[in-house]
Symmetry: C2
Subunit: 308 residues, 2 copies
């Protein structure tokens, strides 16, 4: 039987998911709030959400929530009304708030959270790319009560899109992405402001370090807010940590030194460059202790590259 996939929201991530899954042999269809030129590319993306969801229910499709966080509640209400029995996942940045919203709509039993760590500063259907997820990490949640059959379908989707599966709890995911995704946004926005405050002369002298350091400040502000604000608590914690590191660097600069900051930062970047990705295998979803085994694997940076 061909696996069926229903993607709700055909922006950069949802649209790229339609392309990648279709290329991997999934039967795909979806919904977008407005008309988009997906049809011109051979994709079936409608604007009638109830109709799309009734089709998903009939096809026993895996339904993917791919709308920004602020739109999630309204979409979940429709899922609960028209496709409550479908396996459900998401590609929204933050995981605990999505899981809470899913729970509030009575859809927790069939839900497994997901987050492909891929994107560009572009957005919308025009920016979609079937290769977007190739080689990327794709977080798949392993919270208590996870249905092994749904987990397997979500992991299969991630693998079929060319990604490596990182098993992680929602809470641990959110703390981690505050560090490696949301904080980079905050620092990029601040750096861009510091550069522009120097006027045309400073911007004219800007080279690679400024360009790369501010790249994600090119993301639309509403999208940055939709990504970061639902994770405000974890982001506050890591921002406090970073403010302390910067305040200490500021203090050592009084003596003209950046030694401690440069040494620690370089060591940290090397750890990132040299990280070894252990591959986990032999874990059978549903077998005793499977969730604990996967959580432990995720914590040591391991990934799944296949399902047994």
């Amino acid at each position: 039987m061909t696996a069926s996939l229903c993607v709700l929201g055909a922006g950069l991530i949802g649209g790229s998911l339609l392309r990648a899954a279709a290329a991997a042999g999934w039967e795909t269809f979806g919904y977008n709030r407005s008309e988009i030129p997906a049809g011109a590319d051979g994709f079936d993306v409608g604007t009638d959400l109830p109709a799309v969801l009734r089709r998903a229910a009939a096809a026993d499709a895996l339904v993917v929530l791919a709308v920004p966080m602020p739109a999630l509640d309204a979409v979940l209400a429709q899922v609960a009304a028209h496709a409550p029995g479908c396996a459900l996942t998401d590609v929204v940045s933050v995981k605990a708030p999505v899981a809470a919203a899913v729970r509030a709509h009575g859809l927790a039993a069939g839900f497994v959270g997901g987050h492909p760590m891929a994107g560009t500063a572009e957005s919308g259907w025009a920016a979609t790319d079937a290769a977007l997820f190739r080689g990327a990490a794709w977080a798949v949640t392993v919270d208590d009560g996870t249905d092994p059959a749904v987990w397997r379908r979500v992991a299969r989707l991630a693998l079929d899109c060319g990604a490596r599966v990182v098993p992680v709890t929602s809470a641990e995911h959110d703390a981690a992405v505050a560090r490696v995704s949301h904080l980079p946004h905050v620092l990029a926005e601040a750096l861009a402001q510091a550069g522009a405050a120097g006027g045309a002369l400073a911007l004219g002298l800007a080279a690679g370090s400024f360009r790369d350091g501010t790249r994600v400040a090119g993301t639309a502000p509403d999208l940055v807010r939709a990504i970061c604000e639902p994770n405000a608590e974890a982001l506050r914690a890591v921002l406090d940590e970073t403010l302390a590191v910067l305040a200490e660097a500021r203090r050592t600069l009084d003596d003209g030194s950046l030694a401690a900051l440069a040494e620690a930062g370089h060591a940290a970047r090397r750890r990132y460059d040299e990280q070894h990705r252990e591959v986990v295998s032999g874990v059978v979803p549903g077998a005793p202790g499977w969730l604990e085994t996967l959580r432990a694997a995720g914590r040591r940076g391991a990934v799944l590259t296949a399902l047994d």
Copy 2:
């Protein structure tokens, strides 16, 4: 007559300068503290500094200081001893401290500061590239007392390497690069630490925003210090500014909002992306008011792409 160029220090910048200038038809030679495989590539780079400088004096070469700031004083003492009459420039990051050191060695009359805004996280001869400066901004100083003939030779070198000349005073240069070069280093070092503090899980989930935001933390710590520390005063000022922006963002996060930060950061990055590079022409070095004209042009982001 073929223009002659003597480069002191054949690391990434100095070595790339040898390559670029040679490709543009300059007669090139240089000095490096240790033996490097430059000879294998056909470049004449010796380790006997007095001998290299005597050759520079005999050839009336333009001498380029391309050693890190901590090594500058010792090299300048040798220049003063063996080639005091040569036209002199530099490719060190910060300008006012270099000008002060040059002055201290009695070499100010023949000196015009320079700073090509190009580089990578790599270093050493192996990383050199004749195309490194192509399309880059190259700051050339226009401080009071600048010798127009030397200025012309330095600007010619920058243009021959494929760069655009940004005329700027030493003080204004240092304030600007604190914003667009040194602050990016500081934030990258802090971001790398925040990511690594999340352990293997966080680093495993890191994608483009973390990779780009921490790229320059891959630079050797000693080099980061040599670049940033001589500009400690300007860096402190812009770091204070940025700490205030981040503290305010932290405050708005208490209400769950990043609206102000994201809007201002996005507008700033757009200003960078959309900057128009006015091209200045018709300025004759040495003509009345030439320094003031060039300073004003640099302040509005204008560049020279040719010498009249």
